[in-house]
């Protein structure tokens, strides 16, 4: 496999044929009076149906970028445009980092949340929620409360909550960072399985290089403080992917190594900044 040519920076070829879904131009974010720049001039086109991963050291502004896309944070400068294909569906739904399920709602009610908030008739809600909970193997736990579930099960429910809402784009903010390796692997497999059934555009944030390579079609590496684009890489693996066998391929190791090389500098710089700031 011609890995080296895959790794050389080049504009994405996928973007030429498939319509662009998310388009960012000169996006900046600074906070209040401190003048702290979290995100500094991001230009990005993400085509429809792409699994786009952003990887970077902690504090590089990747979460801020995602929150701007989710409408939870204002944009200081620049534009973010989402091209809608179906205005009747919600633009985006987010899977949050950590525990974001409502403790006072059952698995079922949590999964139904998005649909109910936009006034979908209860008959359709129950159909969709049942389908998604079955797909991820949690339908029989539908009457449980989050505190009666394991961490992995809770994160599955939060993924279902986002998928069941049927948005045009899915935003995921380090959804698996709190899980152990084995749980993570299983969830990667499940996420890919249900994603491949819908082919929604995904923007996925992570600090794990393995996770980025396992899941993504394209990966953006971000620099730390201020958050800028360092490189964009295509991931050459075909779909559907086998999460475990993937690791067997020579290109996998090479890609992981290549990304780490670029990240190492950034991680060190982020650390020095953090220590210098003290």
């Amino acid at each position: 496999m011609a890995v080296v040519s895959m790794l050389s920076p080049k504009p994405s070829t996928a973007a030429d044929t498939v319509p662009v879904q998310i388009s960012m131009r000169g996006v900046r974010k600074y906070f209040g009076n401190s003048g702290f720049v979290a995100v500094d001039g991001i230009d990005l086109d993400i085509p429809q149906g792409q699994f786009f991963v952003i990887v970077g050291p902690s504090g590089c502004g990747k979460t801020t970028l995602l929150r701007m896309l989710a409408g939870l944070e204002s944009i200081s400068e620049g534009t973010m445009k989402v091209n809608r294909t179906d205005p009747s569906r919600p633009e985006n739904s987010m899977v949050f980092q950590g525990d974001s399920l409502f403790p006072w709602m059952t698995v079922y009610d949590n999964a139904a949340y998005g649909l109910r908030m936009r006034g979908v008739p209860e008959k359709d809600v129950s159909e969709s929620v049942k389908l998604w909970l079955e797909r991820i193997g949690l339908y029989r736990f539908r009457d449980r409360y989050p505190n009666q579930l394991s961490g992995g099960m809770r994160q599955r429910v939060s993924i279902v909550r986002a998928f069941a809402n049927d948005p045009e784009i899915l935003l995921m903010d380090e959804p698996f960072s709190a899980l152990d390796e084995q749980n993570k692997m299983m969830l990667h497999e499940e996420l890919l399985r249900i994603w491949e059934a819908t082919k929604k555009t995904v923007v996925f944030i992570t600090h794990s290089v393995d996770e980025a390579v396992t899941l993504g079609d394209r990966i953006m590496i971000m620099t730390a403080n201020p958050g800028r684009e360092k490189a964009i890489l295509d991931v050459p693996f075909a779909r559907p992917r086998n999460v475990i066998e993937l690791r067997h391929e020579a290109a996998y190791g090479e890609l992981v190594f290549h990304i780490w090389e670029q990240l190492r500098e950034e991680v060190q710089r982020a650390r020095m900044n953090a220590e210098g700031g003290k």
Binding site: Y113, M117, R118, N147
Partner: protein
């Protein structure tokens, strides 16, 4: 699950046992003359008086009078406190406007306001209801504000991301999220209500448990005094059991942990 229930039953059993043992000691001490039976009549004689007061209907009349005032007062004070608290929890400007007022008036002992309340509302039922209402208002208000204001920000983010309207955020996030804190406030309010109903009935009433105790002091029927105290204690226990049960129903996600 079964094991847990057995354990809970065991806890309750021990809870009943402790006062029984103490009562036994008291009875023995009073009979043996170790304590002055004029001030500390043996429990058996208190129970006897208890029976007599029930038979004459006197206890019942006083109990109903107190319970009515207590319930009315809880409603009159608690319902506005709940709504104001929710509004203050959601709206920062409103909180900023009203907080100083609350902080300034909260530390005033409610019993110290009794003369003023009597002056304004007279000796009728209203003054007693107002006293209980005052006592219930503060804990419910303060706990409701805290409950809403301390909801984890991530839940509000979820609400916004899923495009919940203001009313939906209130109904699906703010209210259920604050419920545990609100319930704690209601329990505090109930305790406060019991204290205040006893005090105000002692000063300005012609029936009620508080009146019964005060009257017993005036005519020196010490047994009746103890019966009054016992009834108040039983009421407190009953209310806290009922409120625990209500909490279990309203907040199932806490109970089943």
């Amino acid at each position: 699950m079964a094991q847990k229930k057995v354990f809970r039953f065991g806890d309750r059993f021990i809870g009943f046992l402790t006062p029984l043992v103490l009562l036994g000691l008291w009875e023995a001490a009073a009979r043996l003359g170790l304590i002055d039976a004029r001030f500390f009549p043996p429990p058996s004689s208190i129970v006897h008086t208890f029976g007599a007061l029930i038979a004459s209907g006197e206890l019942w009349t006083n109990l109903v009078a107190s319970l009515r005032r207590l319930m009315l007062g809880m409603l009159v004070g608690g319902v506005p406190a709940l709504f104001l608290g929710l509004a203050m929890g959601i709206s920062k400007p409103l909180r900023a406007a009203i907080d100083p007022l609350i902080s300034a008036t909260y530390p005033i002992p409610k019993s110290a306001i009794l003369p003023l309340v009597l002056l304004i509302f007279g000796l009728g039922e209203m003054s007693k209801v107002v006293m209980v209402a005052l006592g219930a208002f503060y804990p419910i208000l303060i706990n409701t504000v805290m409950g809403v204001a301390n909801i984890d920000k991530i839940y509000l983010d979820v609400g916004h991301n899923f495009r919940a309207s203001r009313w939906q955020v209130f109904r699906t996030i703010a209210l259920p999220g604050a419920l545990p804190s609100i319930m704690a406030g209601v329990k505090l309010a109930m305790g406060m209500g019991l204290i205040l109903i006893a005090i105000s009935e002692m000063v300005a009433a012609s029936d009620g448990i508080g009146y019964m105790i005060w009257n017993a002091w005036q005519v020196l029927t010490v047994d009746t005094m103890y019966v009054g105290l016992l009834v108040i204690a039983l009421l407190g226990f009953m209310f806290s059991t009922i409120l625990d049960e209500i909490e279990r129903l309203l907040i199932p996600w806490k109970a089943r942990a």
